[in-house]
């Protein structure tokens, strides 16, 4: 029996139970915002191929299944050794069908094309990942600007999209926003912010404000000082090519 932690992930009208196997990333507020954005913007999608990239527990694919997009074909991948087993376990318990593979970014999907690709890979500065506790043993090779993996995703994703396909990706202010949005605009005709949520600095980072200030000073991250604390944000972007 694998070590696993049971969590509840709240959706708009219901909640799903998920099991996190060793090394599988715990869903965050960014994950919730991502799910809500896709549901709002892709209402009525049927018989399409939807890829949950950086799937962790399969939370995005399973949530979309439960939030009205169940009549589509779901695919998921992540690089953790427990990914396949964990996603299949959660999919089965939530009565969903997901084709899941292990691998980094698009490596498992050679010559495949999708209609919708949702990026939930690591997108914060690796220095923050290290001190925040958010990643707890999960690899975060996003670089000091937190932009390496997201930029790789944006550059590669155009090769894995069907005509008219759409990508959704989060941009977190604890990363180099300018670099990520520049890469997005270089690869897509349309790049649109569809949701934003502000967050207060979590307890785990309150003793590391000096590091945050240093990263901000160097232009790697962005935040505001308000209400006597640090306010950071996540924005969800939708991008596509017109032809």
């Amino acid at each position: 029996m694998k070590n696993m932690e049971k969590i509840k992930f709240n959706l708009t009208n219901t909640a799903i139970d998920l099991y996190l196997f060793d090394g599988i990333f715990k869903p965050t507020g960014t994950t919730k915002l991502l799910v809500d954005s896709v549901v709002t913007n892709c209402n009525g999608l049927v018989n399409k191929k939807i890829l949950d990239l950086g799937s962790g527990s399969g939370v995005v694919a399973i949530s979309l299944n439960k939030e009205g997009l169940g009549n589509n074909n779901f695919y998921a991948s992540d690089l953790n050794d427990n990914t396949v087993e964990c996603v299949l376990h959660n999919a089965s318990r939530n009565n969903c069908k997901i084709n899941v593979k292990k691998g980094s970014l698009f490596e498992p999907w050679y010559q495949e094309k999708f209609d919708l690709i949702i990026d939930d890979i690591s997108g914060v500065s690796s220095e923050i990942a290290e001190i925040s506790g958010w990643f707890d043993g999960v690899p975060c090779a996003s670089g000091v600007g937190g932009d390496i993996l997201t930029n790789n995703f944006l550059e590669d994703s155009v090769n894995y999209l069907n005509t008219g396909g759409i990508v959704f990706f989060p941009v977190i202010s604890f990363s180099n926003i300018e670099s990520i949005l520049s890469t997005a605009k270089n690869n897509f005709d349309s790049v649109e912010c569809v949701a934003r949520s502000d967050f207060m600095l979590p307890e785990s980072l309150k003793s590391h404000i000096d590091i945050l200030e240093k990263l901000k000073e160097a232009g790697y991250i962005t935040f505001e000082n308000r209400f006597g604390t640090i306010i950071w944000y996540t924005e969800i972007y939708k991008a596509y090519n017109k032809t």
Binding site: G29, S197, D198, F199, M200, P202, R226, F227, G228, T229, I231
Partner: protein
């Protein structure tokens, strides 16, 4: 000048609660909606109510209850005691 009732009403709206749901003793975490996201929603709503005067208050994010918030607003002369 705004009143304590204006503040409590703003907090209720920020947390999407019915009018009369909160009282001075209500604490963060005692109701489902008042988590860290709800807390930020309260502070942002109060900042609008007080025309941007809440953002610079250095200890308001530490408030843990309706009473704490009211006391900080009184200390900063934004409402009467």
């Amino acid at each position: 000048m705004k009143s304590k009732d204006d503040v409590i009403s703003t907090i209720e709206i920020a947390l999407e609660l019915e009018k009369g749901s909160l009282n001075i003793d209500t604490r963060m975490g005692s109701i489902e909606q008042w988590d860290s996201l709800g807390h930020l929603s309260i502070l942002s709503s109060l900042d609008i109510l007080f025309d941007g005067l809440i953002g610079p208050i250095s200890n308001i994010s530490e408030a843990q209850s309706v009473e704490d918030i009211l006391n900080i607003l009184i200390e900063n002369k934004l409402i009467d005691s």
